[in-house]
């Protein structure tokens, strides 16, 4: 499957792991301090913004330490141990000790990830200090406690020294995701979304756990430092580099396929992506940090971290590429037909994660990491812009009910930063970081003949992305000024659940000095009379500007000389992978009529992106007089017919899953429940009833309970005899 003639495979991390400085342990410790502080604040009943500032302080310090880690890094990975977590030994030999340290493995991939995790967490914590201010008190403490716990778990996931630490962080971020999605716990939809996220992720986690088991059983260790330096793995890599996959045991080739399942769960890929759009029930800072920028990239991190394991499997990386590309395409088609701008962003996250996986699959780990890096900034920016809109318009997220927001007083910064975010997501040529990172993936996909179709799928998706992104921008931020506030105008937290809206976003307790009136009246009011949009304050604006600036800062970091600084970071880690042509060799691709993708993809993707924007402009901006109706778009919708309707209903995937899995399982559970009640128990009871009935005939008037249950003994015996017979028949 791999085209070995054109690649030179350098073995990853053959440098032995040294010791990392002790203070890197402070990076996970600081958010833990934040957790403890916020818990204490909750117990003390703090009602100020103290939890937020404590959080920002802890996370800011962690971010500084992450920078220190960058400055102090050298080529060799380092390990630091806090304490021994597991150590079970049953012999002296290799693989006869199951051990895992509670400790951290620092290489450049770790540092890269930790930089944007802690940096974004600090910024978004600051943003949330204002955004969540309506809920000061216990809810505020709870929010920031879970927020800190998330950063702690993410640090364990990224910095963990072994697969078990990864698993700890993996489920830990899942827990925080669950707690934060369900933050507005009085809303049934939020509770359901949190539950769904956790359960779907658990399916992935099962795959991950089995992958960890198999890694241990096959390699005899789950410590990264030992695993990646093991001769066994290096031998497999050599075999794989020469295309001799038949020399690699099937068990080793199975490992990445299992780990992959976990990655697909956490990073919302087919077929486990269904939880992420629903996760938008959480407060927007959570959506930005957890469900766009950091947690959902954990799957990408896992594949990148375990890249040597993935390379020794013949089918793993192609499977990753295909799943990624299909997810990217499917999510983009759904995103095109949604009306809720936050959900559109959620689908775009799924879609962009698909790009990252495709990047890993087509063996440009640098491109994938670069896209993770740039995406973290611009997608956080986009979500925070949406959050500002939601905050200002009482939870309104329907793009048919808002128009010309950027022209309103106090909304200029949001408008401009939103435009920057959109351009990045589209990959607007040259001036956006998203362009450079996406381009690496696209070009690489066309290089290998085996993944050309993946490349085309991704290219088409790029066009769709441009369309749906600018559909939002042209509808909501420009055009005639018009707005209808959301349904949570005067609803306080206690009442928010009462309305039962299908997609209200729980942004309750709007701090607006209006006389309280029933929420329904205002919601259906034309609103100009009563409602004044609530322009964002300093914290929100500052964070938006910083993030927008960071998207530009990221350009040189990813664009210069094949991945730039990010490329260097990946180069010095386990995700390192280098194809020969990266050093200058160029050749044409059969999939691009013989053109060299590295040369022409810059232009092709630019054209595709611009075309998407143009279509969005023509359908949603040109000739639109009011928020709800864009004549051109409606004409197009009529042409698209049922396709459009299906896409709007997310291709009925949720319904399909219910039909295929949930409902049969539910029926089965009910059957089991009745079996348990009637058959197993009934058998015992019947056996208990028989002697009492007989006894009743013999001695009328004597059928006590005790007698009945003496018979149940016999029933149990009867069952038991069956078991015994089975045993005996087998031993005979």
């Amino acid at each position: 499957m791999l085209d070995t003639g054109h690649m030179l495979l350098t073995l990853a991390s053959d440098a032995p792991a040294g010791a990392a400085p002790w203070w890197v342990m402070l990076i996970p410790a600081l958010p833990m301090v934040g957790v403890v502080l916020c818990t204490l604040f909750a117990i003390m009943g703090v009602k100020s913004k103290l939890p937020a500032f404590a959080t920002v302080g802890c996370l800011g310090l962690a971010c500084v330490l992450a920078f220190a880690m960058l400055l102090g890094s050298d080529d060799a990975p380092g390990v630091v141990k806090a304490w021994q977590w597991f150590d079970i030994s049953w012999g002296e030999g290799h693989g006869q000790t199951f051990s895992a340290i509670f400790g951290f493995y620092i290489d450049r991939l770790t540092i890269l990830w930790m930089l944007f995790v802690t940096g974004l967490a600090t910024l978004i914590g600051l943003y949330a200090s204002e955004y969540m201010s309506h809920d000061q008190g216990q809810g505020y403490c709870r929010f920031f406690m879970a927020f800190n716990l998330f950063v702690f778990s993410m640090s364990c996931l990224v910095m963990g020294a072994n697969m078990l630490m990864l698993y700890l962080g993996w489920e830990g971020v899942g827990l925080c995701s669950y707690l934060l999605i369900g933050y507005f716990y009085k809303k049934p939809s939020a509770v359901a979304a949190g539950k769904k996220a956790f359960i779907v992720n658990r399916i992935g986690d099962l795959g991950l756990a089995l992958g960890v088991y198999l890694t241990f059983v096959h390699f005899g260790t789950i410590e990264y430092a030992e695993l990646f330096a093991s001769d066994q793995l290096q031998g497999y890599l050599t075999d794989a580099a020469h295309g001799h996959f038949e020399h690699i045991p099937a068990a080793a080739q199975m490992i990445p396929l299992l780990l992959m399942v976990g990655a697909f769960g956490k990073s919302a890929q087919l077929p486990l992506y269904v939880w992420l759009p629903d996760a938008m029930e959480g407060p927007t800072p959570v959506s930005a940090l957890i469900h766009a920028a950091t947690m959902v990239t954990a799957g990408v991190y896992l594949v990148a971290r375990a890249y040597p394991l993935f390379q020794v499997s013949e089918y793993a990386l192609p499977a990753v590429a295909w799943i990624g590309a299909l997810t990217a395409f499917l999510a983009a088609t759904i995103g095109m037909a949604q009306f809720d701008i936050k959900r559109i962003m959620a689908y775009s996250t799924v879609s962009q994660l698909g790009y990252m996986f495709a990047g890993l699959g087509v063996m440009t780990s640098i491109g994938a990491a670069a896209h993770v890096f740039t995406h973290a900034f611009f997608k956080a920016l986009l979500f925070l812009c949406c959050g500002a809109v939601m905050h200002g318009f009482a939870g309104q997220l329907d793009l048919r009910k808002l128009s010309g927001v950027a022209k309103m007083k106090g909304w200029g910064i949001v408008g401009i930063t939103m435009l920057i975010g959109c351009l990045n997501l589209v990959g607007f040529p040259v001036i956006t970081s998203g362009y450079w990172s996406k381009d690496m993936i696209l070009a690489e996909a066309f290089v290998r003949p085996s993944t050309g179709l993946v490349g085309w799928l991704l290219l088409i998706t790029a066009g769709l992305t441009a369309y749906y992104t600018f559909r939002v921008f042209f509808r909501v931020f420009v055009g005639p000024v018009e707005y209808h506030p959301g349904e949570e105008l005067h609803a306080h937290d206690d009442h928010a659940a009462g309305h039962g809206h299908s997609h209200d976003h729980g942004h309750a307790g709007y701090d607006h000095s209006h006389s309280p009136e029933p929420a329904h009246d205002s919601a259906h009011d034309e609103a100009h009379g009563h409602f004044h949009p609530h322009a964002p304050g300093w914290a929100i604006n500052t964070v938006l500007v910083i993030l927008a600036a960071l998207t530009f800062v990221a350009i040189p970091l990813v664009a210069l000389n094949h991945g730039g600084w990010v490329g260097e970071m990946v180069h010095g880690s386990t995700a390192h992978y280098e194809a020969a042509h990266a050093g200058g060799g160029s050749h044409g691709s059969v999939w691009l009529v013989g053109l060299d993708p590295h040369q022409v993809m810059y232009y092709i993707s630019a054209v595709v992106g611009l075309a998407g924007i143009a279509v969005a402009w023509a359908l949603h901006y040109r000739g639109r007089r009011e928020a709800a109706h864009a004549p051109a778009a409606e004409a197009f919708k009529r042409v698209a017919g049922p396709l459009q309707r299906w896409a709007e209903h997310k291709w009925y995937v949720d319904e399909l899953y219910d039909f295929l899995f949930r409902n049969p399982l539910w029926v089965l559970s009910q059957v089991f429940r009745y079996i348990d009640m009637l058959l197993v128990d009934g058998l015992v009871n019947t056996a208990g009833w028989l002697p009492s009935a007989l006894g009743g005939r013999l001695r009328r008037g004597q059928h006590g309970l005790l007698q009945g249950y003496a018979g149940s003994m016999a029933g149990g015996l009867a069952l038991f005899v069956v078991v015994v017979l089975l045993l005996v028949s087998r031993s005979a």
Binding site: W83, Q84, W85, D87, I88, W90, G93, G95, Q96, F98, L164, L168, W170, E171, G172, L175, G182, Y185, K186, P188, V191, A192, G194, K195, F198, I199, I203, L206, A209, L210, V212, Y213, L214, F216, V217, F219, G220, A251, D494, A497, L665, W666, S669, F672, R673, D676, V680, L705, Y709, S712, M713, G716, L717, L719, F720, V723, L726, L727, V728, S731
Partner: protein, 541 residues
Amino acid sequence: MNSVLIPAAMLIPVIFALAVAIMPAEKARGTALLGMLLGAVPVLGLLFLFDYQNAAAFQFAGSVDWIPEFGLRLSLGIDSVALLLIALTALLGPICVLGSWTAIVERQRLFYSWLLILQTAMLGVFAARDLVVFYICFEFTLLPMFILIGVFGSTNRKIASIKFFLYTFTGSLIALAGLVYVAWYAAGHYGHWTLDIGDLASAARTMSPTQQGWVLAGMLAGFAVKVPLFPLHTWLPLAHTEAPTAGSVILAGVLLKLGTYGIYRFVLGFVPMAVAEHAPMLAVLSIIGIVYAGLICWVQTDVKKLIAYSSVSHLGFCVLGLVAVNATGLSGSILYMLNHGLSTGALFLMIGFMYERYHTRDMGQLGGLASKMPVWSSFMVFFVLASVGLPGLNGFVSEFLCLIGAFQSSSSLVAAGHPGATPGALGPWYAFFAGTGMVVAAMYLLIMVGRVVWGKLVEPHEHHHDDDGSHLPPDLTAREVTALIPLALGCLVFGLWPQPLLGAIEAPVNVAIRSFEFEAPQPTPHPEHAQADAHVGEVAP
């Protein structure tokens, strides 16, 4: 001197039981609490004085001859596995009293006396080095529990208690038959009667596979009912649902562990060959239990019944780890006994506290308690997460180890040269199917939390506080929080730092797995497996 500690730990509760029985009723609960706390002091002594370097040896040993001609002696002694289970029992004792403080208003003396006597019986089971002590205590746990359920339970308490009693009693009788057979065999083997558990184990291992198979079946009848292993579990949901809170906590926390402890000590110790042979069947039963009970939990409406079924599901992991017969599986299984005691015991307490306030356990009538009882809800979510097996909390450690134990335990993997595999008859597929239990557990527990804790506040219509005179505040009292904090700390500390426990049980676990190093006599269908099944080593002494 040290040998006084175990008898002291056992006697103090009995003495206080007598004291409670003759005291005025209003002083019963205070006296009981004092008794439980004082009873825990010698256990603390055990924990500190235990020689962990020599953890497989039975320490603090002491014995009294009874009828020497028949080998009848009363002897006590503990290794680290027994020590940890004794510690769990001693921990749960005072917590049970605190948890029943206001729930039991009538016949308090009866209740607390039997609770204390139950404590002694349970300690005796774990401390026994002798078949007589073991069996007497094992059986004697039934009577107090029968009374706790039958007198202090809910509406169906009579049926539940009788069913509990007869079901488990029948099982134990069959187990007794198996044990007596072993004793008889050992008498022939040694030429004199002995009932010492260690001697019996050595003798029993020399039995033929067929004999071992029968003994296995007999002993399992007793222990598998206790665990409970599918399909012998049907007494448990009823008993749990009807039992008073303290009864449920003890039942889930310790009494079920008598079954798994029995399997560990007697089944694995006495008849390793039969275990090795029948491990797949036992594993399949455990896995069926895990998934079947888990799915039943999913469609339960009674919270307490849900947690009861979840015990069936969870204990399936425990048995799976035992029959994996490798270090990870056994360590995981022993830790599971402790961890399940902490987290499920705590969950039953939580439900008891809720029931005291609302007098219902029906999820249809309860909801959104987070807005009324934030402290209760925080604890509830915490213990549910421990029970779900969230990494960082204790449930994960044991569940993960049981699963990896089942995964590793495959002689064919050993034959294929995987360094991390151990000899055994299970394998990756067992881990996979058992692992689906992880997903199912997340389903039913989070759905329960979603209904009871989150959502809009729903309270029963006829809800009023002042009908029983307890006047509990809406949220947890300091007493209730005091009862929960040790459990919560245990869940957290042993999740993040299980190594002290793992280190403590390493020696006995390695002794146990060495008894499985024998020339496997059973015919194996696949020649490549047969080669792998023939372990190196000799028949253990």
